[in-house]
């Protein structure tokens, strides 16, 4: 059965309230998100939808609109703290307000109709992907995120291998809260963005238990050379790489000849793997130590795919990807903000 027909069949099983929320696009499957939905579903969701529509392999998922985050932030105590954060430029006061806000916001309960809507979407996603051993990834998609002027990279939280329904709901709330942590608030202020302007959509996607993960910049971000690409790669999930916990392999490639211009083998002793009970760090097998994570054939495949994405997006891209069972999966793509 096609995804659309399956979705239609499943709608008939939903409560009328849940059906309305889908129609009103409070929750939307990634492929249904349009370019002009950025204020509703954020930069990451819009970019991911474009990847899907372009035929790239992307984990199935849905996005919870920023209107739900608005409902959370418009709640009286939270709003007052955000306004306080907007007003001050004193770092100590910002930190204090952000810490107090975190405590106040943690008592917030998701509206029951939104809980129902999210769990309905999870059920539909489960049916689509035929169940998932590693659970789901719950990720931020702020309306200021993954744009062309600044990235918001690493400011909000990502929850990996989230399995049961209660944990998914908690993760959604946690991702919302992460838009208002001292770290995120301070980043936004340094970019001249008042915290009140941030609206956070949340993506729930099938978790891919990656064998290899990495980032691909379709330009050399160190030199600004657009005729070269830069790849970093590690074994297992990519979180330790983007979080800067490990030193991965680094490859500089010539985009025209696909030749390797520079290769540095990383120094990692461990890898993060996805399992039934969450992600866990395990020792890197001896056979993989000191060896390149990617061979030339995989680098060529990766670069070839990255160049197609760059062409579709119309600008050099910062792409997070993984390989699972020899298939390349694109996790996200955003414009390089520093060329």
């Amino acid at each position: 059965m096609s995804q659309k027909r399956e979705q239609a069949a499943y709608f008939s099983l939903m409560t009328p309230e849940a059906q309305n929320m889908f129609r009103e696009k409070t929750v939307s499957f990634l492929e249904d998100i349009r370019l002009d939905d950025i204020q509703r579903f954020g930069g990451k969701a819009v970019n991911t939808s474009r990847l899907l529509q372009g035929g790239f392999k992307v984990p199935s998922g849905f996005s919870i609109s920023a209107e739900c985050f608005d409902e959370f932030t418009q709640g009286s105590p939270v709003r007052a703290y955000i306004e306080r954060l907007d007003r001050t430029d004193d770092l100590e006061e910002m930190l204090q307000a952000a810490i107090e806000l975190e405590q106040v916001a943690s008592d917030y309960e998701l509206p029951p109709d939104l809980e129902k809507q999210i769990l309905d979407a999870v059920s539909l996603l489960e049916r689509r992907v035929g169940g998932t051993v590693s659970g789901y990834a719950v990720r931020s998609s702020a309306t200021v995120e993954d744009g062309s002027s600044f990235s918001f990279a690493g400011q909000a939280e990502t929850h990996l291998c989230v399995r049961d329904h209660e944990a998914i709901l908690q993760s959604v709330k946690s991702v919302w809260l992460s838009a208002l942590t001292p770290r995120a608030v301070l980043y936004l202020k340094s970019k001249g963005v008042p915290p009140s302007q941030v609206r956070m959509s949340v993506i729930v996607q099938q978790m891919i238990p990656a064998d290899i993960s990495g980032v691909l910049f379709t330009a050399n971000v160190v030199t600004g050379e657009r005729k070269q690409a830069l790849v970093e790669a590690i074994h297992g999930l990519g979180e330790p790489l983007v979080g800067g916990k490990v030193t991965p392999d680094t490859y500089i490639l010539d985009k025209e000849t696909l030749d390797i211009v520079e290769e540095r083998i990383g120094k990692t002793d461990t890898m993060l793997i996805a399992g039934e009970h969450g992600s866990s760090e395990v020792p890197l097998p001896d056979s993989l130590r000191g060896e390149p994570v990617l061979d030339h054939a995989r680098l060529r495949l990766l670069l070839d795919t990255g160049l197609k994405i760059e062409e579709m997006m119309g600008y050099p891209q910062d792409i997070e990807w993984c390989i699972h069972e020899n298939r390349l999966v694109i996790l996200q793509s955003r414009p390089i903000t520093t060329l």
Binding site: L91, L95, P182, R183, S190, V222, K245, T250, T337
Partner: protein, 117 residues
């Protein structure tokens, strides 16, 4: 100055300044109050993007972990300052308060030089 470490450089530009070894958000606040202009900050965890409030004022960042795709490298590039990532250092504590220089080398390599007095 003598070479004390090497790593991956996030941007091919040099930076020189007094190094401060930062291990907590409170130390970020203290440096912000004191004035972070022209300082080079050394951190152990590239996930520590709480450096944001002082990043516009810093001359550079040295990080003992991470690489060019780490969020810290992406964010420092946005502020147009070099970050020397995955830098192996024998004695990070000994560098606190010293004049240091981040210098690009060939390709993505960079080195950290420190005043040897």
């Amino acid at each position: 100055m003598k070479k004390v470490g090497e790593g991956l450089i996030s941007l091919r530009i040099s930076a020189q300044g007094e190094l401060r070894y930062i291990k907590s958000i409170q130390e970020v606040v203290d440096l912000w109050k004191e004035g972070a202009e022209g300082k080079i900050v050394l951190v152990d965890d590239a996930g520590t993007t709480t450096l944001s409030p002082i990043l516009p004022k810093l001359a550079g960042v040295v990080c003992t972990s991470g690489a060019l795709g780490s969020h810290l490298a992406i964010v420092t590039r946005e502020f147009e300052i070099p970050a020397l990532m995955g830098t192996q250092l024998d004695d990070p504590l000994q560098l606190h308060g010293k004049q240091v220089r981040i210098e690009p080398e060939e390709g993505t390599s960079g080195i950290l030089l420190a005043d040897d007095t």
